[in-house]
């Protein structure tokens, strides 16, 4: 039953308006998310320059809360917790952003092509994507690390590769209803090329859900890369890494909580920040409040 009170069905269709980001910023959750992300990205970028000590510099006895010159104390190895914290965000952010960007690019391309060329290409592409999905992202990364060790390129490649099917599925899902709309038919009747239809007619109409998903994937990429660090597979030995710090210092949690709590809270705030932005964008795109299936 169509509602009888709306006059113009156009206003009920969830087509993203040009000012998606601006409208999303009207929501408090988006604002908080952006503030958190700006704060932690700031720490990660500026941190190494303002840190009082180097990331692997020995400053005193291990696991002390009160040490002169180290206001948050020392870690399991007698290094300055505050300095390691300031050094420890860059690699996570860098790896996660690059991996997500690559995965986003290929995922979106595959999703759009699959949605536009319904039929065999679509089936084959999506079947293949489902197989990649059969593996938890973290697990595939661990398997790949077995014989190579924690190399940056490998981590980026694996996270990007496992991000592709997730983005592709969402893109395809958002694009299929657009493909069925008549303006695509109108473009086809004019004989527009496939590439032009995909990039000029299809893509601009799925940017909303794509942006939401990309942001959500960034959240999970951060989680996986931090998780790898936590398992002891940070890309550089001795380097400070928020994930690794949690692992290193958790044994001494009751005597010197800062070594664990500070990096854990940093990762939490960062992922909550990106998660809130995803949610703000999703609500703006949908125009209504509703949870979304994500996995």
């Amino acid at each position: 039953m169509s509602t009888d009170i709306t006059i113009d069905p156009a206003h009920t269709t969830a087509v993203a308006q040009p000012g998606l980001l601006r409208s999303a910023m009207k929501l408090w959750r988006t604002r908080i998310g952006v503030a958190l992300v700006v704060l932690l990205v700031g720490v990660a970028i500026v941190g190494p320059w303002v840190a009082p000590y180097g990331p692997a510099e020995f400053v005193g006895t291990a696991n002390l809360r009160n040490v002169e010159g180290a206001w948050l104390g020392t870690d399991y190895f007698g290094q300055d917790v505050w300095s390691r914290f300031l050094h420890g965000g860059r690699s996570i952010l860098f790896l996660a952003s690059v991996a997500t960007l690559i995965g986003f690019f290929f995922g979106a391309a595959i999703g759009l092509v699959a949605a536009y060329n319904r039929g065999r290409i679509d089936d084959a592409l999506m079947r293949f994507m489902d197989i990649i999905l059969a593996f938890p992202q973290l697990l595939l990364a661990l398997v790949a690390l077995t014989t190579v060790g924690p190399q940056s390129w490998l981590i980026i490649a694996i996270v990007a590769f496992t991000t592709i099917p997730r983005i592709a599925r969402i893109t395809r899902g958002a694009a299929v209803p657009v493909v069925e709309r008549d303006f695509i038919g109108a473009a086809e009747a004019l004989g527009e090329s496939r590439l032009r239809i995909i990039t000029r007619e299809l893509l601009p109409n799925v940017t909303g859900p794509l942006l939401v998903e990309a942001n959500l994937r960034l959240t999970y990429s951060i989680g996986i890369i931090a998780g790898l660090g936590f398992l002891g597979f940070a890309t550089e030995r001795n380097a400070a890494d928020w994930g690794l710090m949690v692992q290193e210092n958790r044994v001494a949690l009751s005597v010197q909580p800062w070594g664990t709590v500070l990096p854990a809270v940093a990762i939490a705030l960062l992922t909550i920040g990106t998660g809130l932005i995803s949610d703000g964008l999703a609500r703006t795109v949908a125009g209504i409040d509703r949870g979304r299936p994500d996995a």
């Binding site: 039953m1 009888d4 709306t6 008549d182 303006f183 109108a186 086809e188 004019l190 004989g191 527009e192």
Partner: protein, 606 residues
């Protein structure tokens, strides 16, 4: 009027948008007697469904019942809450939804869905009696009452059967009032005819008071005893069906009647541009005054009170200038246009077969369309008319045979056709809400065919402005985006885009089916003008038979993928040769002739 036994009485009903408090409907007062059917007519957005649901004490999300009363056999439904309200629903008053495909629960068996109404309301002595009643009511709505049928799920039924289950659910507990909300939208005409017949028979047999909500004047004319016309949330006119159709009083009603296509005549349709103001934008005075040609200062100042203008029966209208809009009687010389069309075929189909994912849906279709000629392609859904028109447009590739444009054969897919051919055949789509790129300006959308033809930007700009003017939109529309336009305006833009490259052939695929009747008439007017002026060969695809004679000179009737009858529109629709066409015509609801009351001042201005 006072002796009438009023089963349903709605008084001064007002519903609001819950957040803003703007009225969706207001001052709605109507009564329905036992055994009577009232047709509540209005365009989309007029508030008719809102009124229908309020009869069950229900308001959709975001809508609030503000004031007024709905009384059924003395029970005030709006004052009832919780258990009392639940008891009223289904027992005192029931609802037949618009789309039974979505209103039946996909997870439950149909027999169970009917049975639970009876169980909830304690109908009958025991469960055996209730099961008995379910079988009885299935028979009443002409469905098989076998146990195996009752155990089916909704998806195992056809659309018509689903709506019969909807009717069974509504009639099961023998309610006093039934609200039918466009129950035949989306059904084919033959199915619609049978469902309407059942509705009529059941309503009169059980003596229920029926509120039939619809936008379709022809259905109302054949079905209802009385008619109430809604515009912008108000009832502007009500009276007996004969009064309303023979002597429409309110200017809006007069326009509606003039815009309704008629099978039996090639009368020119007269439309009215613009749209009804939405909640929150409604003026103090008469909402129709903004579009009304006889509106005066007093119309803008106040909404007139109800006046009885009936002579024999009650006939109420809310207008200062009742009966003053001149009735439209001009006839179009359709034959003249047809004569202009020579034997010069712009488009020829020779033995076209088409398949849809391997299944053959069009068989051996051959016909020509001459320059300056409009051929209507009519048929029910699934007849293959859409596949055929998409094949001509190069949107569907699974076809064989020959389609010739100006004598030259066309490639199967538009991509394989030379630019000049692509631009010579243009397509206007059914749904104006989806045929324009939502993030592209109107001017860019219209100009795109020229860009493909390699026309330079300045020339394109000039052509776009000219085209906008040709479809009665000002050049300022060029910088707007589709979501700022109404459905009718969008369809004008789609027509402008189709005509900007000066095509020889125009394919119109159900172009008015998403539009209200007044706007539909304006689009038809526009297409008739354009086709005549530009000498277009036009293929007008539609399921709406009455529309055909207002636009086409010839008609091709399609069924099961074949052209069953092809002839001039006038002959085919008045004197069909084929059994299929005859049945189709018989099933199509039409407004019957109601003798006008000579005592009324008709055509005072005309």
């Amino acid at each position: 009027m006072s002796e009438r036994h009023e089963t349903l009485a709605i008084r001064n009903l007002r519903l609001d948008v819950a957040q803003s408090g703007n009225d969706i409907v207001d001052e709605v007062t109507l009564t329905i007697a036992r055994g009577e059917m009232l047709g509540l007519v209005g365009e989309s957005g007029s508030g008719k469904t809102t009124v229908g649901l309020a009869v069950l004490g229900h308001a959709r999300k975001g809508v609030g019942i503000h004031s007024g009363s709905v009384s059924i056999e003395g029970t005030d439904v709006l004052a009832a809450h919780g258990k009392d309200l639940r008891r009223a629903r289904g027992r005192l008053v029931s609802y037949v939804p618009q789309d039974p495909g979505t209103a039946l629960n996909p997870a439950l068996r149909i027999g169970g869905q009917v049975l639970e109404v009876l169980q909830t309301h304690g109908f009958g002595a025991d469960n055996a009696a209730r099961k008995q009643r379910v079988q009885e009511v299935f028979s009443e709505v002409l469905l098989p009452a076998t146990p195996s049928f009752l155990r089916r799920y909704p998806h195992q039924l056809s659309g018509g059967q689903q709506q019969r289950v909807g009717l069974a659910m509504a009639f099961a507990a023998r309610p006093a009032v039934i609200v039918l909300d466009e129950p035949t939208t989306g059904l084919d005409v033959s199915t619609q005819a049978h469902v309407l017949e059942t509705v009529r028979a059941l309503a009169s047999k059980h003596g229920v008071a029926a509120l039939y909500v619809t936008h379709d004047l022809a259905v109302v004319a054949t079905l209802a005893d009385r008619v109430a016309v809604m515009y912008a949330g108000r009832i502007v006119e009500q009276g007996t069906t004969a009064e309303i159709f023979a002597n429409p009083a309110h200017p809006y009603t007069r326009y509606l009647v003039a815009a309704a296509p008629e099978m039996g005549s090639d009368r020119e349709l007269v439309g009215l541009a613009g749209r009804a103001p939405s909640p929150g934008r409604r003026p103090v005075g008469c909402a129709f005054a903004l579009r009304c040609e006889v509106a005066t200062a007093e119309c803008h100042a106040a909404f007139p009170e109800v006046t009885n203008v009936g002579t024999t029966d009650s006939h109420d209208v809310r207008c200062f200038h009742a009966f003053t809009v001149p009735e439209r009687t001009s006839r179009r010389a359709a034959a003249g246009v047809a004569a202009a069309a020579g034997n010069d075929a712009a488009l020829s189909l020779r033995g076209v077969d088409a398949a849809y994912t391997g299944l053959s849906v069009v068989h051996d279709v051959s016909f020509d369309i001459s320059r300056g000629e409009c051929v209507a392609l009519v048929g029910e859904s699934g007849s293959g008319k859409s596949t055929l028109s998409r094949s001509i447009g190069g949107l569907h590739r699974e076809w064989t045979g020959e389609i010739l444009l100006d004598g030259a054969p066309l490639a199967r897919s538009s991509r394989d056709r030379p630019v000049q051919q692509r631009l010579s055949i243009q397509y206007v789509f059914q749904n104006p809400y989806s045929s324009l790129h939502p993030r592209r300006s109107i001017a860019d959308s219209i100009g795109r065919p020229l860009a493909i033809a390699g026309v330079d930007k300045r020339e394109t700009g000039r052509e776009v402005d000219r085209m906008l003017e040709r479809v009665s939109l000002s050049a300022s529309y060029g910088s707007r985006f589709p979501d700022q336009l109404s459905g009718g305006e969008r369809q004008r833009v789609a027509i402008a885009r189709a005509l900007v490259s000066k095509p020889q052939v125009l394919i119109c695929d159900e172009v008015t089916s998403a539009l209200d009747v007044l706007v539909q008439a304006t689009i038809i007017e526009l297409l008739v003008d354009l086709q005549r002026d530009l000498g277009l060969a036009m293929l007008f695809v539609t399921h709406n038979l009455p529309l055909v004679r207002s636009i086409a000179q010839r008609v091709a009737v399609m069924a099961d993928g074949k052209i069953v009858e092809l002839g001039t529109a006038a002959d085919t629709l008045t004197n069909p040769q084929e059994e299929y066409t005859r049945r189709l015509l018989a099933d199509t609801p039409a407004i019957p002739e109601f003798p006008a009351n000579p005592e009324l001042p008709i055509d005072t201005l005309g």
